[in-house]
Amino acid sequence: MESLADLASPITIGVLLGGLYVVIALGLSLVFGVMKVINVAHGDLVILGSYLAFVASTSWGLDPILSLVVGIPLFFIMGIFIEKFLLHRAFRMSVDAALIVTFGISLIIQNGAQLVWTPLSRGLMTSYTLESLKIGDVYLPLVYLVDFVMAVVVVLAVHQFLKRTYLGQAITAASQDSQTAELMGINPARVYQIAFGIAMALAAIAGVSLALTFPFTPKSGVPFLIIAFGVIILGGLGSMVGTFIGGMIFGLSQTLGGHFWGPTGQLLVPFVMVLVVLTIRPQGLFGR
């Protein structure tokens, strides 16, 4: 007979893991919400962030979280360039064209990373990687807690940015109705660039989070992209609150699935949930 105490560990780990998924999914959700473009390269951009942290910690001895001081601006600028020179043209043609271009970018990053960093599995070792906290009967790996805290900070920051700043409101306006926004004096082209830049900065943060938690290879982007899609579908495309709750549900169902059905049940449970949600409510639990 399963007691509640046995479930305490998968439940807490699930929620904390959900935090990591939220950060990964947030950039994807933002780009979709604003530009209606599915950025298939997002998973690989996250892994690129992981490699950046890896280089920073192995070559320069920087703490991965501190390395974000360089990583976030770098990724932001890269995002603006990618949007300006690659995505924007395709985006004007059609949604399919943009999708195919991001698919190409994904291949370029994946295989470029493989050339530069070899296909070996990497991980970030810091002083706190193997630490864990003991609360009651539950052992909490510290990195999971770090992921969760980062997720909460990032979600709150993005939410406040979109709500309170002029730029954030412009992004929200352009995502709701780009033509009307243009009439109000907003330049959608500029807004799209900044939105994509922010999504890339989020990918840098997600990359550090991921690298602290799991080992990664150049090909790790695709499974996490698919997880991020799952999270977004559960929560509803383009909804910030939905993404957060979707991430929690996904993380929870993964650890509980693993608890009851063993390692191969881990991802099967959340993905079946995704398919069920898609069938019943194609716009997601919190989608409009």
């Binding site: 399919d96 064209a97 295989n111 899609f229 579908i233 398919l275 069938t279 716009q283």
Partner: protein, 332 residues
């Protein structure tokens, strides 16, 4: 007389090409050529079907890997049950088609990009299912370890070459028939505007379902033939995103929504595939760059470019009209 000849010209040239390609193994050409052609036929079938879905039916289906993996598994598992592999190939196509029919009510509820995401998740779920499921062979086989294809003794590379040729040619004929029928007309109407198509009395769901099932069947058969060549199947490779990549790249390079597009695109993809194979990851890197450049420079693909050149009367006329901005980048 002249018009009749012209009308049947594509059919005659297809027939002639098929005959030439069919006798090729008997003329003693290098084995490597036959291998290139084997891949070409299978990729062509997958690309033609992806073109049917994405180019003509408005279904940006990102799940060819699901059809290929499922058909490959069906064929392989049937060979374990002592059923000949050629029966398994048909059964594989049928299993893929059945699967397409089963998932269609839920995936067709999603429109546009939602459909694309939903179908992208499908192969991943199948991969996870097949990681758990061991239908035959006990604990030592199946799951992550995959299955060997049994009962292939006596089947030569030539046999598989002819099978591949058959499905490649069949995919061209299927597309040709569909596009010249009322069904194809309905599909074109749906792709352009499904609300208008529905109001004109077209059963949108049924037409999409038909093309989804036909696409799954032919793609599945190509996949099953591929695994009869590979001799081994496991979940990660069977449901791998590279299947989507191949079909998508061939279609986009050649020209999406153009009948001859996949044919031209597949030639280029197969050349790239083998010429770049020795460079490993550089190969896919270059394919990625080609895909991006192609999409930005010639969103209509090579055949689209050829069509534009013909329409405007020569390359220089086209360049002139582009610089004057008369031809805008058209909808893909």
């Amino acid at each position: 007389m002249q018009t009749t000849v012209r009308r049947y010209m594509p059919l005659i040239s297809l027939g002639a090409a098929t005959v030439v390609l069919a006798v090729l193994p008997k003329t003693g050409v290098p084995q490597a050529w036959l291998l290139y052609l084997f891949y070409f036929f299978l990729f062509l079938a997958a690309a033609n079907m992806w073109n049917l879905l994405a180019g003509y039916s408005g279904l940006l289906a990102l799940c060819p890997a699901a059809f290929i993996g499922l058909a490959g598994y069906t064929m392989t598992i049937l060979t374990w049950l002592d059923i000949p592999f050629y029966v398994g190939i048909i059964a594989g196509g049928a299993a893929a088609a059945l699967f397409a029919a089963i998932i269609s009510p839920s995936v067709f509820r999603m429109k546009g990009v939602y459909f694309a995401i939903g179908t992208l998740v499908v192969p991943e779920i199948l991969r996870l299912v097949f990681l758990r499921w061991r239908p035959v062979g006990g604990e030592l086989h199946g799951g992550g370890a995959g299955y060997m294809v049994k009962g292939m003794s006596g089947v030569t590379a030539e046999h598989r070459y002819w099978l591949a040729l058959a499905i490649g040619v069949a995919s061209i004929i299927v597309i040709g028939i569909i596009l010249r029928s009322k069904f194809g007309l309905g599909l074109a109407a749906i792709r352009d505007n499904d609300a208008t198509a529905a109001s004109a009395g077209i059963d949108v769901f049924r037409l999409k379902l038909y093309s989804f099932v036909i696409g799954a069947f032919v793609t599945g058969i190509a996949g099953a033939i591929f695994y009869s060549h590979q001799g081994y199947i496991e979940p990660s490779a069977g449901f791998h995103i590279k299947w989507l990549m191949t079909a998508l790249l061939a279609t986009v390079i050649g020209g999406k929504g153009i009948e001859g597009g996949p044919l031209v695109g597949t030639i280029i993809v197969v050349i790239l595939h083998f010429q770049l194979a020795r460079y490993g990851e550089l190969s896919l890197l270059i394919q990625g760059i080609i895909l991006v450049i192609m999409m930005l420079a010639a969103p209509q693909g090579i055949m689209g470019l050829v069509r534009d050149v013909r329409k405007t009367g020569g390359v220089r006329a086209l360049l002139r009209s582009v610089s004057r901005g008369r031809i805008k980048a058209r909808q893909v």
